[in-house]
Symmetry: D2
Subunit: 500 residues, 4 copies
């Protein structure tokens, strides 16, 4: 509010300050559901040149925004309206201790002065980007959205530069290479961190010339192609169980990797851990060597240290791995050739496989839908497979697909990838309404829903009828819940055909 | 896990203990989305005779469960699986500090021993029911769901009885009645608390014989019929602004009641506040008299104290109110008679009104959809209108409708009410997938979606096209997003016809 | 900060607003340690007529302030300075998420506007007083202490009146009296709640004419004199164990009362619980009858309902109790007559007893020091014994004694009680520096420290020397740590002699 | 508790497991106040060879433990007893949501199984050490202290090795050196991080040969001697204000460094920030160059990159600095020569200076006591000055001195430093009782209390008397509060003389 006698001073409102600061800090997309008291945030964002996407539910909005982090290297930033500063404690509209509920964010602030908005936005963005990436939270009191301040009082804040790189201790690098070279059964695990760091070039330079067997984690898939002859995914269990030295690149030994513990890992395995986040070293299994630094430069250090050494593709380790790969791929082929109805996942996926372009962004979630999809759908490029990842959350597919499609849309002609979402029918149900969002923004996404009647496996019509005389089945959907082609996907497909 | 040599001892698992305890404490419905590591909870609940409803999203599940509280007087109880006791800190599947995030619940516990399950369930239920109602939280570590304990170690815990009643100070009651009798412009505000306390009989006994003007809050509607000649809802603004004594029954002077402050209330108004929660007295406006106790007995105290006094329906206050009621009802009538297309809300609602049975449970949410609905759709019975209430949250309609329909379904023949949900198209979008849930459980609900193209008001096709050359409109949906009759609602309608 | 051109407008600073509001809401004492950035709070409080007591440590300050609650019925209010509004997130002096750390308070707020200070102070005080008493928290940003606002913008806020009373359901009262009258072995437990509610008159009117055996909890002592023939404290174990009906007045069945469970209580005991806080009903043991209301009016209800019934002092129950009282008092007498050195507690207390005036406020803390003190030092008046109470915290004695002495000092001549603090040497060590505070404010307190060489019991010199060749003893103090009469206590004693 | 039929199996209790795990993870000192229900922790710690120090107050205990972190590179680990697992929710002795209150720790856990104790202790220690150091929290339920488990079920957990080192990007190092070499007015700020990292050798190798002016932060003092000719502390304001390039080593631009902002810093200053914690880069002022890594290796990188370049000691920048140093040192000399009584700080410190050995650990806290002490008492060795540091807390001196003395005591003969604590009388008052602890453990500490009558400056006797007719003075102590030599310090001094 301009003080008396200052009517001719140029002023700027809180939302304008907020939107400009976000833009200036490199924010390109905001996903949200606007409502009172902050409806004016959305137009302000659009005025500032930020793509504001109106979603149907905040949950899907946050999934969409979070996957932008994985695809572009920018973590989630949560911006919320809060109760007016003069209505605190009065039972204001949707008054709630929001700041406290967001205290686990890397930076969380309720704005108290207009002048400090650019400062807090830069700090929120920087805090989210530097160190282990994580979300930040900014709350703007309702009144501050329309309150204004003379523009002369606003200090410009520079865009926050990318985080500084750090390298591993050269002595540790040397020991790591020496250990890998002398290993009987080495294995490289390529984690989400490699994809997040855009370190695919460096990872390939390390692995490929040396013929090291590698295994991607779910979100690390595509850093090197799953079809690469060095990829041992089909022999995952044996590789993990028998490896004597593991180079763990940006991955955690959490439940996804069976905590790195026997019987899934050898009791004597030596872990060489490459990590940006020091608190992750030695979790569950003591790291034999800790290479602390950013993945890109540390991988470069490893490559330089390694020199010309090459692993023997015909040695005992590779032979055991290739043997197992052969066996397991045959099993999958057999499963895929089963012609019974309803089709099993392998058979269904086998057909779909051929229709999905190599460069597609594949969103794949559900339970069996995701697990089998991880095996069957090969990833050839990094950050093109989006699934539930470490946290295993269901229901994020629609938000992920929308975000991915928007990012592709902004790319120049010829560089865009199509977006395909393959979801279990249960997973789809969490946010299926976002199909409307996809359609409203005319996003070229193909949604495929696997009608397997709920979680794990459903029941057939007869069993369903029979069982319904009993209490309901909590894990099953009825056989007639059968998602079919809808207007939305037709629309989507049309746009797609137009573009690719 | 039974100790060695105890194979012949009868044991009971954690989920069975949990389910039995919930049942024994009167829990009838559980809404959820089960997943690893607690899939076995759902069957255990069903075995114990609890109605387990598999929803499509936990958000809608919690809306459904919470509205059961309003309809049956039992607040929300959140039951969650947590990480195994021996995997804490290891990066277990979906490991998260859940207990901390639920610390605002009235009782929140992570179970640590099987033996104490009945104790904690009773305490959680009792804590939620006694005093100001509020949710409780129980977390069961994954391993405890299948761990078992000899049945002899389990102490039976009695069902928690209904909360004890308390009465207001008789001296305060006396002063309150005296003040109301001598008031020039008295007003009774009937809040959600009256409905929640099932005190409709007592409220009517107080208001009707004395011809007091009354005004319901959104969730207090129907305690007395909106069509009652003493209801001054159509003159709401005048009634609030000019009343000199207000009897506030189980309502808060929060944003919904404009904080009780000028210019919406008279600066000199005297508030007589009847409240169960002492911390609510005098919020924003000092209560002139505080009647602290449960609504049922306190209303009885007021009735007894009042005796035979009756207010003059032809006096100045009633004349001013009736005059305003007349004016405003005419305005609404005119709005309802507008025949332009697209129809305005009043015109649309005017037609729908006649199709909604008097005893229907009406779920009504959205922005204008809800606000105008509050005016047009009269409530004739308590707890039959479900809307966003004090917190103003959008997206709860589908969950609310499902819960209401389940409760009606359990009632004896002839006592069931139909359930109608009238939602804005934006509101519907938050949880529209739950139509499948409604269909799966064959619930007789009629869903009506007001296609007004988004929040507040949308735009017509021409404007939309025009504007889409500009950046997107964050508050609007495209005109072609037009929810029409679907299989689900047809199914639902059919069941309904069958029943009513 | 006054806007330009408003120099002649009378303004008021944040600290002045805060101090005036506190005074106006009845705050009489503030205990604290002031420092940057809020040193100006202390003088502002003094200017407003509030007694500001500069303590040596915030911990003792909070003990002092909290005991004012017990003595005057006003819970703790925490006022803190916080970081300047324009330095949030910058690493400001002592910047910390204070609000979040105080979120368990009944009301917690960081002030954001000067105009709302009176509102928040009233709400903080009211929230702390109404319902179950508990602390509130107010944080004032450093800059707001000296920022000023035109006085015309400040709305006066009325002092918050005492909380409204509520009564128990008359039907429950009737059943309670009927149950007590027909009980074989009734017992009244007089809890802290009775003392806190100043309901001593009502408690006596109930118990004494009916000759009911009563047992005070530690903080309930003195509501009726421990020397009263109806007091069964010396037969505590038997009374609890054999009672068939217990009237529980403002007490919780927590660890102090052995959770109300066998073998310390009879498995079939029927509990009649009188409580202001509904969430306390039936904790650990289901209440047979729940009398929900304030103690004063509910006790009056019980008295009226009881009529003239009197219990038989020569019946079997009283005989068993009197027998046990006789035995235990003889044991204590014997212990007190032991003449060995070092003296045992009973012998030491036996001598001290005669020097402590009947009306003294006795602060008594430590381990054995407190436990045996509870038995030996009889309380004759309510709220005159201050000990660790339900939470069992050690180290609060000095703060308690200081607060008690200040309150006595403000009483008119002839109505003051002397203050005596008897502390274990370990307990004294937590806050012994506050002797200086007591001396600085010339408070007439006698501090007695029991030199028993640490927690439970220490060791003699010989053993100490011997053991010190071994690792140190964590629970013992060396025998030479022997607090003797200091200047401070001499000073104190002198003032005392002057006054009494 | 051993299961039936397993009596002959060797078992181990929870406290023994806890103590062994702590010892095995390198914990050497535990400071505490033991009480129910975990008194058995202290003997178990002593049995395991850990030095358990029984303090008088937990506050001082935590100060003592935390300063061990600064002196030995090991952050605080908080170990607490919690309520029994079968008494949760029952009102157990001191039951409290402790885990939630410690959720800001780097790792916080309530133990749930005995088998996992070694795992959690290692993880707590490792989490506290790796990355930015910070405290961890372990809570052991009361029952688990004495519960036992067969020793065969316990997996050995290896001691956590020191954290891995990381280096800065060589390109950034190169640019940093180039910028420093071309700077007109370079300045090196030596922060607490250098001391914490034990990087004194590297810091000297960088600064001394190149004749760079350096300025230590309060906790960075002594990394290079304050008496070194390159130290510009006496010209602090000018150095900060005029520097055009600042090399910031392990320090934050927080309130202590005036946020790095004008007018205290040049608007155009270029900051080269060397940091281990990436989130600290660019706080308040954008770093011109970010050198992300551990201080030791990054300083080595800088030294190597710098080569033989030397700054001109007779150039303009050094001349301006030396001029200001000369002026300010003369002012201090004059202040020190004032002979008025009571003595000013400078005069008092001037005398004391000569009695404090060069290698003494100097604990110095208070307000003026600390601020002037920072100027007058020169530090010649790293980690030998302990003051309030970044958080500015008062009252930590006694705990700090005790911890420092214990650490010195464990050093071999001839390598021990004496410990001197110089505290303001107000600061001393927070924890003065810990003198008894110092005495009990016969620690050779000299405590000096500056009797300046409270915070900032007190008043003389006459003013005090006069003012006491008025309300009390919140910031002053009475002139007669005059700490004099006590038995304890005599004892201490005697031990000291014996040792040095």
């Amino acid at each position: 509010m301009a003080a008396d006698g200052e009517e001719d001073v140029e002023t700027v409102t809180g939302v304008a300050l907020l939107a400009d600061a976000l833009r200036s800090q490199g924010v390109e997309w905001v996903f949200g559901v606007v409502g009172i008291p902050v409806t004016n945030i959305a137009p302000a964002l659009q005025d500032a040149g930020i793509g504001y996407i109106g979603m149907r539910n905040e949950q899907a909005a946050s999934y969409a925004a979070s996957v932008v982090g994985y695809l572009t290297g920018r973590p989630l930033l949560v911006v919320a309206g809060g109760c007016d500063q003069d209505q605190i404690g009065m039972g204001a509209f949707q008054e709630w201790p929001q700041l406290e509920d967001c205290s686990r964010c890397k930076y969380a602030v309720r704005l108290e002065t207009l002048e400090s908005i650019p400062f807090h936005v830069e700090k929120a963005v920087r805090s989210s980007l530097y160190g282990r990436p994580g979300p930040s939270y900014i709350e703007i009191p309702g009144n501050m959205t329309s309150d204004a301040v003379p523009i002369t009082r606003i200090e410009q804040v520079l865009p926050c530069p990318p985080p500084p790189m750090s390298l591993a201790d050269p002595a540790a690098v040397q020991r790591a290479v020496s250990l890998l070279r002398s290993a009987q059964r080495p294995l490289v695990i390529v984690g989400k961190g490699v994809a997040y760091a855009f370190a695919e070039h460096e990872a390939r330079s390390l692995i490929v010339p040396r013929r090291l067997p590698f295994l991607p984690t779910p979100m690390g898939k595509g850093v090197l192609s799953d079809a690469h002859p060095l990829c041992v995914s089909p022999a995952r269990s044996r590789a993990l169980q028998e490896a004597d030295v593991i180079l763990l690149l940006g991955a955690r030994l959490n439940w996804i990797l069976h905590f790195g513990l026997p019987p899934r890992f050898s009791r004597d395995v030596k872990i060489i851990q490459v990590e940006i986040c020091p608190e992750e070293f030695s979790n569950n299994v003591p790291a034999h060597l800790m290479l602390h630094g950013h993945l890109k430069p540390v991988l470069k250090q490893l490559v330089e240290e390694f020199g010309q050494w090459v692993m023997d593709r015909d040695g005992q380790w590779w032979s055991r791995l290739k043997e197992k790969i052969h066996i397991n791929m045959n099993i999958n082929k057999e499963l895929a050739s089963v012609t019974s109805l309803p089709m099993n996942f392998y058979a269904a996926y086998d057909i779909m496989k051929d229709y999905i372009p190599r460069n597609a962004v594949l969103v794949n979630e559900g339970s069996a839908t995701m697990d089998i999809g991880r095996t069957v759908f090969l990833s050839h490029f990094p950050r093109r497979r989006l699934d539930a990842g470490s946290f295993g959350t269901m229901g994020l597919g629609c938000g992920y697909a929308i975000a991915a499609a928007l990012i592709e849309q902004r790319k120049p002609d010829g560089q865009r990838s199509p977006v395909v979402a393959i979801q279990g029918d249960s997973a789809f149900g969490f946010s299926g309404m976002e199909l409307e969002t996809a359609s409203r923004y005319q996003l070229p996404i193909v949604f495929v829903v696997m009608n397997n009647s709920g979680i794990y496996r459903g029941v057939d019509s007869e069993t369903w009828t029979e069982l319904n005389e009993e209490p309901e089945l909590p894990l099953s959907l009825p056989p007639q819940v059968c998602y079919q082609e809808q207007l939305t996907t037709i629309l989507a497909r049309r746009s797609w055909e137009k573009e690719y």
